[in-house]
Symmetry: C2
Subunit: 272 residues, 2 copies
Amino acid sequence: MQPIANAPRLTATLSEPVREIEIVDELGRRTIFIPAERALTVLVDDRELVTLMTLGASPELLVLGFLCNQRLIKNAAAIESISVDWRTSRAMVMTRPTLRDAHGALPRIVAGASGQGSIVPALMSQPDTVRLPGMAEARIHQSTLRRVLDIMRQHDSIHRHARSVHSCALFQHDNLLVSVEDVGRHNALDTVSGWMALHGIDGADKILFTTGRLTGEMVIKAAQSGVPIVVSRNGVSTMGYDLAKKFGMALFGRAVNRRFHCYVGAERFDAG
Amino acid sequence: MQPIANAPRLTATLSEPVREIEIVDELGRRTIFIPAERALTVLVDDRELVTLMTLGASPELLVLGFLCNQRLIKNAAAIESISVDWRTSRAMVMTRPTLRDAHGALPRIVAGASGQGSIVPALMSQPDTVRLPGMAEARIHQSTLRRVLDIMRQHDSIHRHARSVHSCALFQHDNLLVSVEDVGRHNALDTVSGWMALHGIDGADKILFTTGRLTGEMVIKAAQSGVPIVVSRNGVSTMGYDLAKKFGMALFGRAVNRRFHCYVGAERFDAG
């Protein structure tokens, strides 16, 4: 997969995704693996924007996706470079000068994201600014849904090793394009959005898989990346349900093996 | 349980915790219940502070606990009143005048909370400001751990009805004092913290139960409420582990039926 022309330079130092610790359980002492969680402070043109708590697997894509999904940038070309250094726990983002406002910097955001300090209210009041081009044709066949679930079940993962992480993946039909795990479901989805932005991927014929719940914010993020079909191993909230309906998406939850709930968009689903 | 002297006046209009929707599953059409998710915009002395995404079961306690856990107030007496109106989706917080700064308002916070836009970095740099008085004596017997898990398993809940919610509860030995469910684990914990602040409850001899993962922020919030022993049905992250160790807490995860992991503080655990 080729990055877009004018793609930002992305660099990141390495970090361990898991750590071995000694525990006591009902049988005695033993060691287990637990997932890493690190604080990553994002600076945009040397101004502090936000601190994200992340496993750290693809921090440069997480930052790019976060900027996109918070609507601070229109596309990846707005960014000159993102450079993550775990020794300082910082992500240095340099924008291309055309993007900056009169004061020479991005607007400072107040929002965090996941349920507390949310982007939802701003977008709820202007849902028409979320567009899903190609939505009309988007369909999913039951056999594709099953293949997606099979692939994700067999996928090598930190979850298998250390549990307690959320996974998010992008499919074209039943081809896995990218998958990522992080401590929170929002970060995992932001990272997939960052990967899409870097490669200029159109979401219209894609399927987004997540292990996380389909809350309002998760549905908005999928919609902003232009992906009309979302499949979750987990459930839905009323806000996720209402937004998916408003955007005309198809939303599947409780999807495990041959079982699923289609909450919204059953007319896009080809059973059998 | 009596509120503290000087307690804030708390009011909230009612809201439905669940909604019935029609879905398509692998067998055909049927109806299920899904949990509510609402945007609640918090205004402190008429200035907008943050928007929380919540199920809405105890929004006034959520707001109080959020203010405490974000360290915007020292205790509940700093607040004159909190009044939640779901018709406007607003929580109006009035502070007692002594609290306000030179500009007549609380500092505006940038932080959200759950993994994106975090209070952790500020507290990581000053962990000594989190105090757990009475910590030295805090112990938990295996039979108490089992009782706590039994009680929570049998507890009537939205989860049983609609799933997809997190639960948080406070115990004194094996007495359930309060329990709450919300869309996110942070909100559920903040609500319990709000209840403790309203009633002036000392956390030192309490046990906090949560269905959510023990990330850094969850451990910090428990510590800020003065509760040294935390039990989760879920796992732990490296940051949750490191902070609990630093604070001298006891941390249990994967706790279901007779099984558990004691990650930190095994010396406070009486087995058998």
